[in-house]
Structures are given as structure tokens and as C-alpha cells.
Symmetry: C2
Subunit: 149 residues, 2 copies
DNA sequence: TATATATTATTCATATATGAATAAACGTCG
DNA sequence: CGACGTTTATTCATATATGAATAATATATA
């Protein structure tokens, strides 16, 4: 009576899997959105914060190609992003005497300060996220995410 | 000697948490990208497939506002998406006699067939994803995702 | 050295997304 | 009924992203 009948389910396995796949997509988007909302408070977007952070971590001007690699996006995207960052006064384009094709992006003082402000906002979102993950096996979650790669 | 010194870690807790948060974002993006790549083979994008699927599930024409709600996006986005779907011949705009402000989107036969083709591609990505999740506690993953909401 | 191939950034066309402003139609309430 | 506020879709400006085409410079090779 209580016996589980193997091979029979109310909702098909495929349906559950689809839900899982789209849950992964939607969760990523939801977190992105929270980050965007937090960053807009300091005049940044996630894209802008990412670029500033890579520049900060590099510790020196980096070429736009290098920046595109770090951000895993195409170069034309970086061209536009740097246009906006430059318009905001957060970044300066500098020539590379070693390679006259290249253009490097340099953080301005304002850009550096803005990155710091952004990082604080990101940390808040992170703390909130961690709270919601209370009672969840985070190691297993990490394992799942790195399996998907 | 082997004792764990509490409160001291090589990489700070905050750093791990940041990694986890960005892993969630990046995983979502990676899956999205796989879906886009699969769907482009049948002439669809994820956004287009989503709209077609909602129309299919509704079983009848739905207003653009309704579609925006289902897709959790703003209406101007749907206006543009429907422009493109209409240009592709996958959808037709029809008037709503009940409410003359409203415009409804109706699936064409081609749109319906395209949705079917898209669903097959999505299923393949899903199957691939499931394989990589071999050995992962999927219920715990589901729990984590629904905790984040 | 001269030519061919690579790489660099930019520009352009396009897709996706948001939010503000607008016009038309709907509903309500005095 | 008529004025007012709401809802509908659209348009516009903008941000983010891709990929193709282009121009300038580097590098390799014949």
C-alpha cells in the first residue's frame, strides 16, 4: 500500500529538470538584479563595477583587449563600456608606447574611489544572500556550480 | 597541533562568499549562453523562444501586457520583441474588440512549429546539464535555489 | 626587405533590456 | 454626462551585449 511504484511519477522527470535549469538561470538573474540595484546607489552598473575592479586588481593600466578577456566579452563591448566610463570620469584612455595599436585604460582617482564604494554595496548584497542560504549545504552548492562550470 | 584555530582562515569568509555569489551569476549566464547557442540553430533566441512558449501554453492570443508579466519584463521590451517576432512571421498582432487599447499576440502556424523545434533544442541542453550534475544532490541544489528565490 | 598574416581598437548594424514620455481608450465618481 | 485617473501600447533615449567590417600597427615568413 505504501509501496513506491518505481518508474511512475506524477510530473515527468523532464519537467523537473527543466525547472531546475531555468531556476539556475533565474537565480543568476535575480542576484544580478540585486547587484545592479545596489550599485546604482553609487552611480555604477555591474558592468562598470566589473571593469573598475579588474583595473584595480591589475594595479596598472591594462589594454582594452586584456580587459575584454578578463570580462569574457568581445572587444567592441569594452570599447563602448570605456567610452561610458571615460564620460563618467572614472577611467582615462592612455597610449601604449610599446604597441601603438593598443590603448590602455587607467583608473582615475574618482574611478578608484567609486570602485571602493561599489565594493561596499556588493558586500551588502553578499551578506543578504548569505543569510538566505542559512541551513543550506553551501559546499554542496559550490560543488554543483563548479560541476556545471 | 592539528587543532583548528577558530576565527582564522587563510582566505577570508567574505572572499568565499563573493565567489559563491558570482558563481551563481556566472552559472546562470553560462546556461543561458548554451540555450542561446542551441536555439540559434532553429532561428530563435531565448527571448523569442520564451514568448512563443508562453503563447503556446496560453493556448490563445494574449495581450502584450500579459506577455510582459509572464516574462517579467517591461512592456516596451515586449513591443520590440513582438516587432521582431512579427517580422520573422512567427506571431501576428490582432486587435482586441473587448478593449480597444489592447493588442494581442497570436501564434502563427510557423511560430507554433518553431516553438516545437526550440523545445527540442532546449531539451538537449537540459539533458547535457543533467549529465554534468551526476553525483550532485539535486534536491539540495533545488533547496538552495528556492531559498534565494 | 617585402609580403602575408595577426592583432588592436573602432565603427556599424542589430538584439535585448530598462524607464520616461506620449496618445488612445477605459473606468469611475461626482 | 464629463472630468480625472488608470491602463494600453508605442516611441525615444540609453545601457549592455554580440559579431562583421575596417584601419592601423605588429609580427612572421619567404
Amino acid at each position: 500500500m505504501n509501496k513506491r511504484r518505481s518508474g511512475i511519477r506524477h510530473s515527468s522527470a523532464g519537467e523537473n529538470d527543466r525547472q531546475l535549469m531555468f531556476s539556475l538561470v533565474n537565480t543568476g538573474r535575480a542576484i544580478e538584479q540585486r547587484l545592479e540595484e545596489a550599485l546604482v546607489r553609487v552611480g555604477l552598473s555591474l558592468a562598470k563595477f566589473g571593469a573598475l575592479t579588474h583595473l584595480r586588481e591589475a594595479g596598472e593600466p591594462i589594454s582594452l583587449s586584456e580587459c575584454a578577456k578578463k570580462m569574457t566579452c568581445v572587444r567592441s563591448n569594452i570599447t563602448q563600456l570605456m567610452d561610458r566610463l571615460e564620460a563618467d570620469g572614472l577611467v582615462r584612455r592612455v597610449e601604449d608606447p610599446q604597441d601603438r595599436r593598443a590603448v590602455k585604460a587607467a583608473l582615475t582617482r574618482l574611478g578608484s574611489a567609486r570602485q571602493t564604494a561599489g565594493a561596499k554595496e556588493v558586500a551588502k548584497v553578499q551578506a543578504e544572500l548569505l543569510k538566505t542560504l542559512n541551513g543550506i549545504d553551501q559546499d554542496e552548492l559550490r560543488r554543483a556550480l563548479s560541476a556545471i562550470k
